[in-house]
Amino acid sequence: MTNGWVDIKNTDMMLIMGGNPAENHPCGFKWAIEAKRTRNAKMIVVDPRFTRTASVADLFCQIRAGSDIAFLGGVIHYALENHRIAKEYLLNYTNASFVVKDGFKLPEDGLYSGFDHATQTYDKSTWNYQEGGDLSGKAASAKSGSAQAAKPAAASSNGKPAPPPHLPENIAYDLTLQHPRCVYQLLRAQYSRYTPEMVERITGIPKDQFLKAADLFTSVRKDGDMKKAATIIYAVGWTQHSFGTQIIRAAAMLQLLLGNVGRAGGGVNALRGHSNIQGATDLAGIFDILPGYLKVPVPADTDFKTYLERITPKSSKPHVWDSWNYWSNTPKFAVSFLKAMYGDAATKQNDWAFHYLPKVDRNYSWTYIWDNMYRGIVKGIFAFGMNGVSIGPDSRKNIEALKKADWLVVGEIYPDETSEFWKSPGINADEMKKIQTTVYRLPCAGFAEKDGTFVNSARWLQWKNAALPLPGDARVDQEILARIFLKVRELYQKDGGKFPDAILHASWNYTNPLNPSLTEVAKEINGKALADLEDPVTKQQIKTGQQVPGYAWLKDDGTTSSGNWLYCGSFTEAGNLAARRGTEDPSGLGIYPNWGFSWPANRRVMYNRASCDPDGKPWDASRKQVWWNEAAGKWVGNDVPDFKADSHPKDHMGPFIMNPEGVGRLFVPLGAMADGPFPEHYEPIESPVDNPLHPQQSSNPVVKKFKTEADKYGTAKDYNIVCTTYRLTEHYHYWTKNNPMNVQLVPEPFIEVPAELADEMGIRGGEVLKVTSARATYQAKAMVTKRIKHMMIDGKKTYQIGIPIHWGYRGIAEDEGKTALTPANLLSPTVVDPNAFTPEFKGFLVKVEKA
C-alpha cells in the first residue's frame, strides 16, 4: 500500500477492483465502512461477481475477468475528455510534460515499437525521453531535432556493441503539454481508443453503467477541485493475469492523473493476502530481488563496481527541476547488506564478499521452479508454509513434477496435498509403488506458536508474542532452517565443495546458533554501527556495536551493517519499535505514530510531499499530513515527511523521490516494464474472444507459454465459459479445512454458477457439476446464484463461473468422502505475467457439464 489500512477512513471515494476485501480482509475493511459512515464516502466495486464487498457498495459493475485494463483505460479516457484531472499536480509531480523520443510507437496494432517476433521481446531503446531542455510552445520545430537524438542508440561508430540505453540527464519537456510526443499527448492518443463503446465490447459492462462509474470516480476532481481524495484498492484479482502488473500501472496512472497519490485517503493500495506477505516480499522471498528491493546480481555483474553501476540510477530530469533520486544511495544499502550477510568476511579488498552472492542466470520464479522439476532439472524442494500442489497453477503438473523429484521436505502443521501428492486421486497402488521421491515431513509451528513480526499491507511491522507452547515434536521454522544450515556448513567444512566460502563465511552470530532468537534476527535486520559514527550535520554520535537509528546512517565503507535498509529504524537503541502499542493519534488522521513501525522511517503515507501544492501547502487543510514550514526552513508534519527535509519548494524537487526523474511516471521509460510503457488491453491467454482492439495481436506479445506435454492451453472453440478462482472468508487457503469450526461454516466445495446458465443447462443448486479446462476436470456442487449474470462480450453472449480454491484431497470434508477430491487449481493454466511472474489464476476457459 502507498497508504495504509487505517488511512482508508480518510477517503471520499473508493474504487475496489481486483479484490474482495469484505471477503478476504474483513478486519481491514472496517476502515472502508468507516469512510462511508463518517464521510459519506462512495464505494464503487468492479468484479466478475457480485461479492460480499459489492453488497455494501454504492455502485457495482460486473466485469469480465481479465478485462481490467480496458475498464481503467476507459476511465483514464473519460477523465482526460472531461477535464477531471489535477492539472497542477500533473504538471509538477508527473512526467506528463516530458517529451518522448522520436521513433516511439503506440500499440494501435497491439505492438509497441521495437518488438522482435523471433525472441518475443522488445528492444526498448525508443521507450525513452528525449534529451534537451524547455520545448514549451515549440512543438512545431521539435520534430526534426528529435529524430537525430534517436539515432545514437542504434550502434556506435567504433564497432563495439552499443551501450545499454539510459535515461537522458536533461529531459526535454513542454509545460504547455502541446508537444505531440509529450507524455500527456501520447497518453491521450493511447486511451482515445478506450471509448465507452469499446469498454463495453471488451468488459461486458454496459456503456451507461460504465459511464456512471467513470463519472462517480472522477467526480473528486470535478471543476478542478483538489480537496477530495479517492483511493484505489486491489488484491490478487489484478496481479493474477498475464498482464497483471500493467493493470496496477493503469491504476497508478489514473491516480496520478487525478492527483490522488501521496494523499490521505488516496493512493494505490494493494491488499496482501496473508498476514506477512508484505514482509516476505520486503525480505526478498522472490528470486529477482535482495532484501529491501535491491536488484539481484546477474552473471554480467563481474564485480561489485559493475553491479553497482548497473543497479544505481542516475538522476534524470529537466535541468531546471530538482530530483533527490534516493536510489543513488544504493551502494550504502548494498554494502551494509553484505556486511550483515558475511560480517568480517566482507572487506573492501574482496568487494564486500559480493562474489558470495548467487548470480541469477535465468527465471527462478514459482512456475519455473515447478517446470524445472517437471523437466528433471530441479531434484528436490523445501516446502515450508505453502502447499505447492494446491497453489498450482496446473496442480497436475506439480504432482507430476514431485513424482520426478528425488526428495521433498515439507514443514507444515497438517498433512497436506503436497506432502501426500503420492496419494492424489488417479494414482493407483501400482503407480504409487513406482514413485521414488523421498518425502520428509517436519512438524512446524503454527502462527500462534511463534513470536516475530508480521508486516501487514500497510507496511507496518508488528511484533507478536507466542501465545501457545509448541505441540508435540513441532519446531519453529528458524530452528529447522538453522539446523539444516549448520549441518550443511559442517559438510562443507569436512568435505569441501565447489564453492564453500559463501556457506563457511556466512554470518551466524546468534546466542543459540541452533535456534536463533527472532529478536536477535530483527536486530540484525535493522543493522548496527561497525565503527564509531557521527552525523556531520547534527553531530549526533553512535558507538561501535550500537543499533543504527535509521537508514540515513548507512555507509558504503563497511562501517555499518543492515540486513534490510527499509527496516532500518525498526529496532534501535530505543528497543524493538515493532512491539510498540501506542494508541495516540494527535492528528486524527489514523497515523498512530507510536504503534509498531511503518517502513520506511515510520512513515505511514508514502510520497506525502504530493499532499501539498507546489508551494508546500496541503491541498486540503482538513487533512494536513506534511507541509513546508518557512520559518523553520524545513518540511514538518503529522506524518514523517517523505522528502528531503530542507528542500525548499522553489527548488522544485519532485515528490516521487524513488524515481530518478523525481516525478510520477505516466509513461514508464526503458526496461522497467517488459510489455510496454503504457498499459494496453490484452486478452488472457485463454479468452472467449479475439481482442477487439487488435484481433491479430490478441494476448500479451511478450508472454511465453510453457512447452512440456503437461502445458495445455484451450481455445473458445472447445471451452466457452470464463472461470475465475478465489477464497472465502470462512476459510484460510488449504488450511482451515482441517478445523471443524470453519468446516461447519462452509462444509464443502462448490461452483458459483449464474442462474441464467443453470436454467439453460437445467441445473439446480446442489447438483454436482463437472468443470473441464484444457488441463483437467474439477467436480463440485453447483451454487446457482443471481450474483453472476451473463455478459455480451464483443457481441457474444458469455458466462462466467467462479470456484473457491480451498479444497483438495486432505481435510475433513475430503476424509469424510464429501468431495470429488479435485483441487481447483487442476484447472488453471501455466502462464505468467512477464513482469512479476504471477500465474493467470483469474480468467481462463472451461466448459461446464452435469456430472
Binding site: A22, P26, F29, R37, T729, V746, P747, G765, M783
Partner: protein, 297 residues
C-alpha cells in the same frame, strides 16, 4: 450463569408478584444491527459458538453462503443471506444476523407455563432457565421470530442469552465484540435507537435508500435487538423478518381470558401425575450436560 447483578422484571408461569419487582430498575440494553454495513463474515456466529461453548454440528451445502437454514438449539446466531432484485434491476445481497430479538413483550415468556423457565431481566434480556424448562415447546409457538429451538435429546429449549453472563459483568455480548466492521453496536435502548435513527437518515439522505429505517416492532413492545434496514417498509426480504410481529392470538387467549381453564387442567394433570407416580415410580434421570452455556457460569 452469573446473574448476581441482574434483576428479574417478568417471569413465566409464576403466580403472585415478580421477585424483585418494584425495586430499582436498570437501563434497558439493546443490540443494534446495521444490515447496511454487514458483510456476512460470520465472525459473530463463531464468537457465539466459542463464548457459549456450543458444540460443532454437521452442516450441508444448501446452495447459499448461509451456514444452515435456520438457528438450532445449539446455534443461536445465524446470518441469513438473501439475494434480492430491486425495482431498478440492481441486485442486493442482504445479510441479516438473526437471533433472539429480546422482545419487550416476549411471546415465548407469555406462552411458557413453567415457573421460572423464562425470565426477563430489568435490563430487558429475555433468558431461558433450562433447569425450570418442562419441554412443552409452547415458547416455540409463542415466538413470532421462530427463534427458540428444542434439544431433542433432553427436551430443553435454548436460544441466544444476549450473553447475560458477559453483560452482567459490564461486557458487550460476544457477537458485538467480534464484529470487524462495526455493524454491530451495544448499549442502552435509547442510545441505540438514536444511533440507528441517525444512520437510517444518513442512508436516506446520502445513499440510494429512500426507505431506509429502523426495525423496532411495536407489536411486541419493541425489541432488545433492533435493525437498520435499507428498506424498512419491506423487512420480509431480509429472510422473512416479520413486518408486524405479534404474540400469536392463541397464546394471548390462553394466557389471558382462558387462564383459569389452564389452571383447572393443570390441577387435573397434577392429580394424574401423582397417580402415575404411585403406579410406576420415579423416572431415571439421564446424566448429561444439558446446558451448553454452563461451562462459563
Amino acid at each position: 450463569m452469573s446473574q448476581a447483578t441482574l434483576r428479574i422484571q417478568k417471569i413465566s408461569g409464576h403466580a403472585g408478584s415478580v421477585p424483585g419487582e418494584d425495586t430499582q430498575r436498570g437501563l434497558t440494553v439493546c443490540k443494534l444491527i446495521d444490515t447496511t454495513t454487514c458483510i456476512g463474515c460470520k465472525a459473530c456466529e463463531v464468537a457465539c459458538m466459542e463464548w457459549n461453548d456450543l458444540p460443532f454440528g454437521e452442516t450441508v451445502f444448501g446452495n447459499s453462503y448461509q451456514t444452515m437454514p435456520e438457528t438450532r438449539w445449539n446455534y443461536w446466531n445465524l446470518i441469513l443471506f438473501n439475494e434480492h432484485e430491486r425495482d431498478d434491476g440492481t441486485l442486493m445481497w442482504l445479510m441479516r444476523k438473526n437471533q433472539c430479538m429480546h422482545c419487550a413483550e416476549p411471546g415465548c415468556l407469555a406462552a411458557c407455563p413453567a415457573d421460572g423457565a423464562i425470565v426477563q431481566y430489568t435490563n430487558g434480556i429475555v433468558d431461558f432457565q433450562q433447569a425450570n424448562c418442562i419441554g412443552c415447546g409452547y415458547c416455540i409457538t409463542g415466538c413470532p421470530f421462530d427463534i427458540p429451538k428444542m434439544n431433542p435429546k433432553n427436551n430443553r429449549v435454548f436460544k441466544c442469552t444476549l450473553c447475560t453472563d458477559r453483560v452482567s459483568e459490564g461486557l458487550e455480548p460476544a457477537c458485538i465484540k467480534a464484529c470487524p466492521t462495526g455493524c454491530l453496536h451495544f448499549g442502552t435502548k435509547e442510545d441505540m435507537l438514536d444511533l440507528a435513527g441517525k444512520r437510517a437518515k444518513q442512508l436516506r439522505d446520502h445513499s440510494n435508500f429512500p426507505h431506509a429505517g429502523v426495525y423496532d416492532p411495536p407489536g411486541v413492545g419493541g425489541t432488545g435487538v433492533i435493525y437498520v434496514l435499507h428498506d424498512a417498509t419491506n423487512p420480509e426480504i431480509y429472510g422473512g423478518l416479520p413486518k408486524d410481529p405479534h404474540i400469536p392470538f392463541m397464546v394471548k387467549l390462553w394466557k389471558g381470558p382462558l387462564k383459569w381453564l389452564g389452571n383447572v387442567a393443570m390441577v387435573g394433570g397434577l392429580i394424574g401425575l401423582f397417580v402415575h407416580y404411585l403406579r410406576y415410580g420415579a423416572k431415571a434421570r439421564e446424566d448429561e450436560d444439558i446446558n451448553p452455556g454452563g461451562a462459563k457460569s
